[in-house]
Each structure stands twice: as structure tokens, then as C-alpha cells.
């Protein structure tokens, strides 16, 4: 069966009442809120960085010894290699590495969805990693979450720690579903990478077209939910401990020079 035919049929139904409300909500999430959340994230981060840059510098060096010959390189090593974690908790380190490298690839995977950007061959039906990247962030997130239910990790965790991880978990699981689930259906990829490229094209062109015109398929709800949770994540990012993305290096510089 031609998948296009199915979705075209479902589109033909005229929505009223709650369904109409959902259509409007979905549109809001899929288009305007994307812009809003990106703006909130950028403004929030800039404001945070400015507040720190404007704070007085500490009166004396906070470094620990032995002093490193190249403090900047040492701080880079601390930031991206996390040598102390590798030494103290190798399993935790393994998952952290897997997770953060995964995040890195996820970023590029999404970037690849913009029209004109072709990090993967344009004819490829997959995002970078073909689903493996999704797993590489999902599995560690389970680990991060579960470890907070026992021992001291439980006592030092606050509600926001769990909520953040749950948020990530849902984003990732939905992402996994979107990228993998499609290929399991009888009719194969219902929303292909090319479709998502069209959606990103709408975003890029600021045309404010309803993404439903390019994203056919009955699991659109999951796409919307994935996008919504990701927007939530972006909007809270500057106000949570995820600011470590930006502050890890400056912090490690503090102890190295």
C-alpha cells in the first residue's frame, strides 16, 4: 500500500471540537514554540554568562597542586576526559562518556535535518548513527536515573534531578521510537528523513506552514510530544545544572590556574 495514500486519507477528515483544538496546539508546538524555546534558551544562557562574567573575580588562585605546566590543556583534559571519574567509578565514567558523545552526535544528527546540510549522504534514510546514537543516550539515562534510587546518590538527589532525567528519558525514548519504530511497520518508513527535512525547511524559512502538510503518518502525536519535551528541555536548560555544558571548562580552569 502506498503510505502517502493512507496519510492523505487521514488528512481529508475535517477536524472539529477537541480534534481542532489539538490541531492548533500541535501547530503551536511544532512551529512557534520551537522559535520561542530557542530564544528563551539563548537569552537565558547569555544572561547567565553575563551575570557570571560581571561578578568579581576571586581574590586569590583556587588551584590545586601539583601545578600543571599547561593549565588550559589540563582543564580541557578534565572537562572532556573526566579522568577522576574514570579512576573512581569506571562504569559511571563509561556511561557518561557514551551519553555525552551521544549528545554530541545527536546535535549533529538534528543539524543534518536542515535542508542543504548533508552530513549523511542525501539519499540515506537514516539520521547519523541509524538509531545507535539514540540508544547511546537512552541506556545511560536509565543508568543515571536508577543509580539515584539507592545509597548516598538518593540522599543527595533533589526532585529536579529525577525530573530532568525523566524528561530526557521521554525525549530519547520518543526519538528512538520515531527513528526505529517507523522501520518496523508494514509500510516501512512512514515519515522519512526527507519528510523531516521538509519540516526543518519550514522552520528554516519562517514560512509558518502547518508541518502536517509534510509530516504524514498517524504517529504524528509522538513527533509532537518529542518536540514539545525537547522544547521544555531547551527552555529550562539555562536554569538547571545543565549549565555545566558551558561552565565545566571555566570551572576546571579555576582549579588548574
Amino acid at each position: 500500500m502506498d503510505p502517502q495514500a493512507v496519510s492523505a486519507a487521514s488528512q481529508a477528515v475535517v477536524h472539529t471540537g477537541f480534534a481542532l483544538f489539538l490541531d492548533k496546539l500541535y501547530y503551536f508546538i511544532m512551529v512557534p514554540l520551537v522559535y520561542i524555546s530557542v530564544i528563551v534558551m539563548i537569552v537565558g544562557i547569555v544572561a547567565k554568562i553575563v551575570s557570571i562574567v560581571r561578578a568579581p573575580i576571586p581574590a586569590f588562585s583556587l588551584k590545586t597542586y601539583p601545578a600543571k605546566k599547561r593549565p588550559f590543556l589540563a582543564a580541557l583534559g578534565d572537562t572532556f576526559g573526566m579522568p577522576m571519574i574514570r579512576k573512581e567509578k569506571p562504569l559511571f565514567w563509561f556511561f557518561l562518556m557514551m551519553f555525552h558523545i551521544g549528545i554530541f552526535f545527536l546535535f549533529f544528527g538534528h543539524l543534518d535535518l536542515f535542508p542543504g546540510v548533508n552530513l549523511m549522504p542525501p539519499e540515506s534514510r537514516h539520521m547519523i548513527g541509524a538509531g545507535a546514537v539514540g540508544l547511546s543516550v537512552t541506556i545511560p539515562t536509565f543508568y543515571f536515573l536508577f543509580r539515584r534510587f539507592k545509597g548516598q546518590e538518593r540522599h543527595i538527589s533533589v526532585p529536579s534531578d529525577y525530573l530532568l532525567l525523566l524528561l530526557l528519558l521521554f525525549i530519547f525514548l520518543l526519538g528512538d521510537m520515531i527513528s526505529w519504530g517507523n522501520s518496523w511497520t508494514a509500510n516501512g518508513f512512514v515519515m522519512t528523513k526527507a519528510d523531516f527535512k521538509n519540516y526543518f525547511g519550514i522552520l528554516k524559512s519562517f514560512s509558518f506552514v502547518d508541518p502536517r502538510t509534510v509530516l504524514h503518518g498517524s504517529h504524528y502525536h509522538f513527533v509532537v510530544l518529542h518536540v514539545f519535551l525537547a522544547e521544555l528541555f531547551m527552555m529550562i536548560l539555562p536554569f538547571t545544572k545543565i549549565v555545566h555544558t558551558f561552565f565545566s571548562l571555566p570551572l576546571n580552569l579555576l582549579r588548574r590556574r
Binding site: K48, S51, I52, V53, A55, P56, I57, P58, A59, F60, S61, L62, T64, Y65, P66, A67, D78, M82, M84, I85, E88, K89, F92, Q152, E153, H155, I156, S157, V158, P159, S160, D161, L163, F239, T240, K241, V243, H244, F247, S248, P250, L251, N252, L254, R255, R256
Partner: protein, 418 residues
């Protein structure tokens, strides 16, 4: 707590929010890596004795008063209010932390719990809940900076009485007193403590090196650093800095006291003179052949405890080992050592505060290390560590000898007249 006090405490809190503090308070991932790094937690595995648990007291106040999150959804970060209860929590957090900074080396972001605890300590001062002993000792040190001339003659007489003890260890260079004082243009200003054990051995070493030196009128110790009172800390250190300026010395050598060395060396700005630990000076004298030590004066095996403020936080780690290498070939390391060394449990002013029971409990990790080393003697280069190690040795019946490095050197001096 009255609203006015609360306001005043908030202002104090804000005054501490420099770049580093903001980063420390914003960034902790609650990863828990620092938990096992703290010797206090090792001995008493309670959340309030973890580095992150301590910092959380301050962080939760930060969220409550300085972050949007704490105002919109306080439950997200389990924020706390500035009240008598949180002030008590701040006390327990701050004065159970020795400021050893072992946790700093383990945290993936290098979050400095000692610094964060300085906010807690400032709040305690604002709420008038600071430890009175440290406050009193700080004030006495500051007063001494103003009245030292009045007591100078008594001090000089007491120093003169020590001459025979100094000369029993090393001859005095001709034409000089055994313990010179107020010598202008001296090469070295030595800053000791109040007990003669902090003066006699150092004087003998300086004399053996034929150094042109002079002794300070003041004690090196800085009680305000433990109290967490930045202004008083500055005033106490300033007495010594002014003395060095007045005498136009080339170098200030600080007695075996980790905190005093760190404060003077790193927290007083730049000066026309150098500031070193006496340990660095001794190592230099040996290296330059200005003093000679004979090996074999120490019976059995010797180990060395790195004082946190001198080693991890001050960078003096190789010098003591170099000196020890000249004293004995039966040296064994504690494991771990140097930057990873465990705090003895005597830092942060806990010795001055008494706290015997707490210190004996939290010194447990150190005791295990000492036992495992099977050494006959343990030496160190910090007055506080020395006191704590001595008490641990007695309390746990280790049967070791506890020594100061300077004292070991002074008793091994030989081949005079460089």
C-alpha cells in the same frame, strides 16, 4: 529569625558571590563523586558529612534567595529558608569540614567545598553563631598587631633565654645573636608560633646555614582563616606583611603551619619579597650545600603526612621528600599520598575548637593509613597535623613517634661552617 537579620544575612551572602562561587553554586550535578573523597564521611557515612551535602546547605539558600527556580518552584530543589534551623545546619556543615580540598580534586567540575563553606561561615558570623574561641583568638592576634611594641622587650628576653637550646643544635654565626630580631635588610624573616618548639629547631637550621635572618614579632597562625572572616584574616596576615616591609627583607619563611603558609603565600597579593614555607627553605639549603644533615638519626622506618594546605593546596610536596631522602633511606609512603593524601582530621580550626571526640572519630582513615604503613615514626610539616597525629597515635594506641620535619632536620645537622 527577625526580618532585619535575614536581610543582613542575604547581603552577606551576596557579598560572597564572586565568579567562582556563582559557578560552584550553579553547576553541581549532584553526581556524588565527591562523597567518598571526604575523610569525615569515610568515618561517619552520613549525607550531611559529604562534600555535596555540606555545599547543599548553602546551595539551597542560594536557590531560595538568588534564583528564579527557588521562587517559582521551591520544591524542585528542596530549598530552605534563612532561619535558626538553617543557620544550625550551616554550622554543622562548615565546622565539620577541615577545608582539606580533597573533594576538589575528585569533583568533575572542581567544585571547591572549602570556598562554599566560607559562605556558611560568613552567615554564622552575621547571625552571631560563629565559634567564639576562633573569634576571640582572631581578635587577640589583631590586637597583638597594634600592641606588639609594648610587649617587645619581654619577647626579646624570652628569645634570649632560648639561646642555649638553639646552640645545642648548631653554633651561632659569630657576631650575631642566636635568635636575631628586628634585623633590617635581613635575607629571611622567619615567622614562628608561640611555642619554643616552633622557634628553636628553625633557628638552629638558619644559623647552621649562616643565614642573615630575623625572627618575627608575630605568630604565623591565622585563626580568622578558619573562622571564615575575610577581613580579620587580612588584618592578621597584614601584621607580618608590614613587618617584612618595615625590615625590607628578601624573603619570608613561614613555620610549619599549612594554613598560615597558604594565607600568606597565596592570599595577600604580590610583594617585593618572596614567601615560602620553612620546608622549601630547608630543601634549598641542603641543595645548595649550605647545611648538611647526617643520615641515621632516625631509628626505624619513617613516613610523611602531607599537610593538605601545604601539599595539595600549596604545592609543597617534593621538597619534604627530598629532605627526608637525606635523613634516612628507610622511608615509606602513606597510601595514598601527595595530592590524594587523606586529611588527618585536624584542619579547619578543629584543634583550636577542641572537638576531641569528633577529631578522633574522623581521623580514622588517617589511622588506617598510618597502621598500614608499618612505620615507626611519622613526621609532618604542620603544627595542626602534628597535634592531631599525636592525639590519634595516643587514642588508637599506635605506638608510633610523631615528629616535625624541621625538628628532625635540626637534630641531624652536621658539618658546620659553610
Amino acid at each position: 529569625m527577625e526580618a532585619a537579620t535575614q536581610e543582613a544575612l542575604k547581603k552577606l551572602f551576596e557579598s560572597k558571590l564572586n565568579k567562582a562561587m556563582r559557578l560552584y553554586l550553579d553547576t553541581c550535578a549532584h553526581c556524588g563523586l565527591c562523597v567518598e573523597a571526604c575523610h569525615v564521611y569515610q568515618a561517619m557515612p552520613e549525607t550531611k558529612y559529604t562534600p555535596v551535602g555540606r555545599a547543599e546547605v548553602v546551595r539551597k539558600l542560594f536557590k531560595r534567595y538568588f534564583k528564579m527556580q527557588g521562587k517559582i518552584a521551591p520544591w524542585l530543589g528542596e530549598v530552605i529558608e534563612l532561619d535558626d534551623k538553617s543557620v544550625n545546619m550551616a554550622y554543622e556543615a562548615a565546622f565539620s569540614c577541615t577545608g582539606c580540598r580533597r573533594c576538589v580534586t575528585v569533583c568533575p567540575f572542581g567544585i571547591d567545598t572549602q570556598q562554599v563553606m566560607n559562605i556558611a561561615k560568613l552567615l554564622l558570623i552575621g547571625a552571631e553563631k560563629q565559634p567564639q574561641i576562633l573569634a576571640m583568638l582572631s581578635d587577640m592576634s589583631i590586637a597583638k598587631g597594634e600592641t606588639w611594641k609594648e610587649t617587645a622587650n619581654d619577647y626579646i628576653a624570652a628569645l634570649n633565654n632560648l639561646a642555649p637550646e638553639v646552640e645545642a643544635l648548631a653554633p651561632t654565626p659569630p657576631g650575631r645573636p642566636a635568635i636575631p630580631i628586628d634585623v633590617e635588610n635581613a635575607n629571611v624573616l622567619y615567622v614562628g608560633l608561640s611555642g619554643k618548639h616552633s622557634i628553636v629547631p628553625a633557628a638552629a637550621i638558619l644559623n647552621a646555614a649562616s643565614e642573615n635572618w630575623t625572627i618575627s614579632h608575630f605568630e604565623a597562625v591565622n585563626f580568622a582563616a578558619w573562622l571564615g572572616d575575610g577581613e580579620k584574616q587580612r588584618l592578621i596576615a597584614k601584621r607580618i606583611i608590614m613587618e617584612a616591609e618595615r625590615l625590607k627583607v628578601k624573603e619570608v619563611a613561614v613555620v610549619e603551619c599549612g594554613t598560615a603558609t597558604r594565607v600568606l603565600k597565596f592570599m595577600t597579593g604580590s610583594h617585593p619579597f618572596r614567601i615560602v614555607s620553612i620546608v622549601e627553605l630547608i630543601a634549598r639549603y641542603i641543595e645548595q650545600g649550605r647545611i648538611k644533615v647526617k643520615p641515621g638519626t632516625i631509628s626505624g622506618t619513617l613516613t610523611y603526612h602531607d599537610p593538605c594546605q601545604l601539599g595539595r593546596n600549596g604545592g609543597v610536596m617534593e621538597e619534604p621528600r627530598y629532605i627526608i631522602g637525606k635523613l634516612t633511606d628507610k622511608f615509606v609512603e602513606l597510601t595514598p599520598n601527595k595530592e590524594a593524601n587523606w586529611c588527618c582530621g585536624g584542619g579547619g580550626g578543629l584543634i583550636s575548637l577542641g572537638e576531641h571526640e569528633f577529631r578522633m572519630k574522623t581521623g580514622k582513615v588517617k589511622v588506617d593509613q598510618m597502621r598500614a604503613s608499618k612505620a615507626d615514626t611519622i613526621c609532618t610539616a604542620c603544627e595542626n597535623c602534628h597535634t592531631q597525629l599525636t592525639e590519634l597515635n595516643e587514642h588508637y594506641g599506635l605506638g608510633m613517634k610523631v615528629e616535625s620535619l624541621t625538628n628532625l632536620v635540626a637534630h641531624a645537622l652536621t658539618g658546620f661552617g659553610a
